[in-house]
Amino acid sequence: MKTTLPLLALAAALFAGHAIAATAIRLPAAPAATEPADQIVLIDSDDDEEGGKGNGWIFAFGSDDDDEEEAAACATGTDATNPQGCLPANAPMADPNAPPPANGLFGGAQPPKAQIN
């Protein structure tokens, strides 16, 4: 009995220490394992009040994977955030050297110019 009790106490102490150590190691690691770095969660935003479509977050458009998925959704018309459809991935850019649109906003002879500082 005298030897059983110390052994039991030692086993309990080892088990408790191991459990604490495992918890301390495991907890910070869990979120990283379930959220890939390029995954974007769409959350409804308050932009609805301003007339936006409310999809809140822009897709990770720097990612090639997301570009392809987005382009596919555009092409098939299955992009839920753009029910009216969206521009296909291969849509040609607007001609930057064309004259400005005749929308009645522009006047004069000088075309608009931009500068980024």
Binding site: I40, S45, D47, E50, G51, G52, K53, N55, G56, W57, I58, F59, A60, F61, G62, D67, E70, A71, C74, T81, N82, Q84, G85, C86, L87, P88, A89, A91, P92, M93, A94, D95, P96, N97, A98, P99, P100, P101, N103, G104, L105, F106, G107, G108, A109, Q110, P111, P112, K113, A114, Q115, I116, N117
Partner: protein
């Protein structure tokens, strides 16, 4: 000779009033140091009834992302005809976009409003980041943006 002079006078008479009906305007948008990728910005106008009137500048060249400039996209369906000749590069965090253009006089003090929609990769869209009435009294007076634009002003 007489017919040449007459033609010259006629073309001058037709052209000069057209030029006089516009004024050179500078649009300046300072961006916050939001720390993300370059921002796509589109500057456009609505008339007194709130209807889309036209686009003044598109900063950002990748067409597939125009849908994230959501109010502008809803109004135009992303038509390239709306931005031909008025596109440029996207604008970096903390940078300043300055646009020089001739704007029709009829836009001022007539209920027109300038809007800026903004979008940044992996960050929230910001339709109407800036919304400012076009008035002669408002020239040179900076207004604050909502998210990516720290301040915007137009000056003559």
């Amino acid at each position: 000779m007489k017919s040449l002079l007459a033609s010259l006078a006629l073309t001058t008479a037709l052209t000069v009033p057209g030029l006089a009906l516009a004024k050179p305007v500078t649009l300046t948008a300072d961006l916050n140091a939001y720390g993300g990728q370059n921002a796509f910005l589109v500057i456009y106008a609505t008339d007194a009834s709130g209807a889309y009137a036209g686009t003044l500048w598109m900063a950002g060249g990748k067409t597939r992302y125009y849908q994230h400039l959501s109010n502008w996209y809803n109004a135009t369906n992303g038509s390239m005809a709306e931005i031909a000749g008025i596109t440029g590069a996207s604008v970096g965090s903390g940078r300043t976009l300055q646009i020089s253009l001739d704007l029709a006089d009829t836009l001022f003090d007539a209920g027109y409003t300038l809007h800026i929609d903004a979008a940044v990769e992996d960050m929230r869209e910001s339709p109407n980041d800036v919304k400012v009435p076009l008035t002669t009294a408002g020239a040179g007076k900076p207004v604050a943006g909502r998210r990516y634009v720290s301040s915007f002003s137009y000056s003559f």
